[in-house]
Symmetry: C2
Subunit: 87 residues, 2 copies
């Protein structure tokens, strides 16, 4: 399962969320991660993240695409992170 995550998190919780996400996914931008996870790993990640965020304020949008070949990924400007090998 290919996963793209974008998040808006209060600055006081940002680093904790970053550290958890980094265990599972590749950092691609400030506030965006990407990678391949099983549904089990995604559930694990969700439990950890939900234990950190303020559910009334923080927002995380998760996009799941079961086949990475269905995604055409482009970069405008500079490539960041280390994701060249992902897709």
């Amino acid at each position: 399962m290919h996963v793209i995550i974008a998040y808006d998190i209060g600055i006081e919780r940002l680093h904790k969320v970053y550290l958890v996400m980094k265990q599972y996914l590749n950092w691609i931008q400030n506030s965006a991660f990407e990678g391949d996870l099983s549904m089990g790993q995604l559930e694990e990640l969700k439990v950890k993240v939900m234990g950190i965020i303020d559910k009334e304020r923080d927002s995380i949008v998760v996009f799941l695409v079961s086949n990475p070949e269905w995604i055409d990924r482009r970069v405008w400007g500079r490539e960041r992170g280390d994701v060249k090998s992902i897709i």
Copy 2:
């Protein structure tokens, strides 16, 4: 074509990029937009955005998925933006 865009832009160019993106896509997060565009519209958006950003510093990652039904979209925490109707 369903489009998800995540961007890291220098603060001095951020509002200009935001205004251009908003003409084409739905704002979902600080630094993330989503919506349906034709390839022509995407090219138009690219030209406008490339005219604003610093290509050595700013980074925009564009994910294209031709069928929106291939995307399973989930929100952890709070839904932001106005995208409930998108998928």
